[in-house]
Symmetry: C2
Subunit: 185 residues, 2 copies
């Protein structure tokens, strides 16, 4: 694929992800993706011959990889697992507040909407969560309950993001960040 | 409202809630609500003259109240805050598994879909979460960090339910239930 093709594909995925984060799977119509990306209609089926679900799956995986990279960076710069978790909660809180409560977990809405009814997208979301859990797990390497604590830490982060979006307030993230140390030390 | 009116209203709300939990706000079309409730179309506008958002708001609040009642009952029968949280995670895990991974948190999908774009429904979801937090807070009455721990416990429960749905597995709920004691004792 040439540079122009890559750019068009990225524009389609940017528009898809923006719509997914604001209104979920059912809020991301193909016409809206085309309108807000400015990409020609034909390019959508050129890049994603499988249609909407292929494009949504690619968008979820790309957003998941960006968060994985960011978790990896935070893990390397944190002195302890608790400091890492606090850093994640603070970074995600900044992103959420700066986006006007639009950008929480980039995967959660689609995960909930498709969990029971759309096998390929359920699989894509499950893989993204497993990869994030792996990043958290790596930071807990020598803890005797590392497997349990990795999923517990991820659940805390996801739940705090959900409550922060629901209340349109950073408060849940701030309070959880204060308590995560008790869990991880 | 007579008994028949109340029954029709309940049937409409049952169908709405079922569709909301499976496919979210955008997956709950009025035509589907009418088809799966078997209620006459006119009854929808009779009971909910404000249309879809009024009906979805009523459905969310009713489902929220059912969970509040259940939290209240578990709080009364639990010997400690940790036992209470474990009981909640187990009960929600049973519900989720028995429903074929459809019934997680009855509010979360709509909360995420509408948080940034629909003020009345954002408000309804926020109120439901605040009432659940109040039930958890009441169980932690004498703990010095009760306010922080109430939102942290609720975040853990919501996050674990989200991951369990995403993976179609009880495993996240089981693991979190094992770790919640460290947080609450």
């Amino acid at each position: 694929m040439g540079q122009k093709g890559t750019e068009t594909r990225d524009r389609l995925l940017d528009a898809t992800q923006e719509l997914l984060e604001t209104g979920g799977y059912f809020g991301a119509g193909l016409n809206q993706v085309i309108a807000s990306s400015g990409a020609p209609r034909g390019s959508l089926y050129f890049h994603f011959p499988g249609g909407k679900d292929q494009m949504v799956g690619a968008s979820i995986r790309r957003a998941g990889q960006a968060i994985s990279d960011s978790l990896h960076g935070l893990a390397e710069s944190s002195g302890s697992a608790a400091e890492f978790a606090e850093g994640v909660l603070n970074q995600l809180g900044d992103r959420l507040e700066q986006s006007g409560w639009r950008k929480g977990c980039p995967v959660a809405t689609v995960a909930l909407e498709t969990a029971a009814t759309n096998d390929p997208l359920q699989q894509a979301c499950s893989e993204v969560y497993a990869s994030w859990e792996g990043e958290v797990r790596a930071r807990l390497a020598d803890h005797p309950d590392a497997d349990d604590l990795a999923v517990t830490t991820l659940a805390l982060i996801e739940g705090a993001l959900l409550l922060a979006r629901a209340h349109r307030s950073r408060d849940p993230l701030t309070r959880v960040a204060r308590q995560v140390r008790a869990l991880l030390s």
